[in-house]
Symmetry: C2
Subunit: 245 residues, 2 copies
């Protein structure tokens, strides 16, 4: 499993992913699931993936290859004129990779599936954020649904639904995400630290701060333990149920 | 889907279930998923179900039938000498019902599956709480895992994991469960109000208070709206993430 969240704020985009991959609970590894492309002053693209690791790595490598050799750039992620067309390119690449491997075995395509969160900004339009399905279609975040989750989405969802604020600072958004990730890690062994994050500030056309939150990160450890206490305090402060006699 | 939680406390057992059943989002109904049997002074048994409604109703009806006609009581839920044997009886009934309908169609058994939470007390031993799988086997709650969830368990799990306290009063436990149910209802359309609850105080051998929390219940509405504010306050009170320059 995996847990990734992509979030739109007034000031830009926030991407956070865990790094655990597993083939059974006795075969776990750490892999980067957050990938970026940048053409300073013109575009920033960010991609996170959940699903089959071979598929997601093939998608990223295929997209990467096309950005490196100028004569093979068409179509390249660094040349698409809009975020919509960039999303189409990523989606088609994903669909093609899954289809290529599905041929190997009957009914095997489901095992090669992956889901992506893709966001960024290309000069001329505002930042956009997409959720790309293994079928190659996608949906876009908007005012009503300003964030996407992929992977093990359920444990960490209630806190985001309750506390998301599009006017939040990046620091507040990262705190919210770490609480959401902490709830997920506590419940699902296949989601694990370290967590990677990448920020993007609207209209900068350059990658913002990024980082990796490791298991021994003192801030994360303090948030994780303080959150349990705060939840209990919050619950205690609500009036108790009254049983009818 | 469904959401049910059975919880062991020092003072007894708490059971809570939602009441929504659905065959597609356009075909929803309200059904009781919490069933009880009582032999005052001697035993109290409580059962909650998640899964195929025909299966769970057949299980309850079969168990019920056997308690009504004295000459057909063997084996009856009201005569098993221990909670363990009562759980075995419920589990076997569940497995038999699934098997009987699975014959109707190849691969159809998965569609007839159900999972149960079964708890209570029979004179001579302490209260016990079981999670019964569709395969007819089961596990028992203990000090390390003092509660069971079935159905849509994920959204509402983090708050229970963080705030469960086995010394809690029934009123505190019901508050915790309503917060957990509220998080689930907000995220999954197939879990819905009203919620049924049933309490049992250890060594009373009589059913405790029970009730139904409806969508317009003023206490539930106040908890639901206050909880969002409390969560935001709790998050605000944590220190923000610090971005490295």
């Amino acid at each position: 499993m995996t847990y990734c969240v992509g979030m739109m704020l007034d000031r830009g985009l926030v991407m956070m992913s865990d790094t655990r991959t597993n083939a059974g609970v006795d075969n776990i590894s750490t892999f980067k699931k957050l990938h970026v492309w940048e053409e300073p002053g013109e575009r920033v693209l960010m991609l996170m993936s959940a699903g089959n690791l071979a598929t997601t790595q093939a998608v990223v490598s295929t997209l990467d290859e096309r950005t490196k050799a100028p004569q093979e750039r068409a179509p390249s992620l660094l040349e698409t004129p809009s975020m919509f067309q960039a999303a189409q390119l990523v989606a088609k690449t994903l669909k093609d990779v899954i289809a290529a491997h599905a041929e190997a075995g009957q009914n095997a395509d489901s095992a090669f599936r992956a889901t992506l969160i893709f966001g960024g900004q290309i000069a001329g339009s505002p930042p956009r954020l997409f959720l790309i399905y293994p079928e190659g279609n996608f949906i876009e975040a908007g005012d009503d649904t300003p964030f996407f989750q992929i992977g093990e989405t359920k444990y960490g969802r209630p806190i985001i639904v309750r506390a998301y604020d599009r006017a939040a600072t990046f620091e507040e958004a990262l705190k919210l995400l770490l609480v959401s990730f902490d709830s997920t890690v506590k419940a699902n062994l296949s989601v694990g630290l370290p967590f990677d994050y990448q920020l993007y500030t609207t209209d900068t056309y350059a990658l913002g701060p990024k980082g990796r939150v490791k298991a021994d990160d003192p801030y994360f450890r303090s948030i994780s333990s303080a959150w349990g206490d705060k939840l209990k305090e919050a619950l205690d402060s609500l009036p108790n149920f009254t049983l009818q006699a």
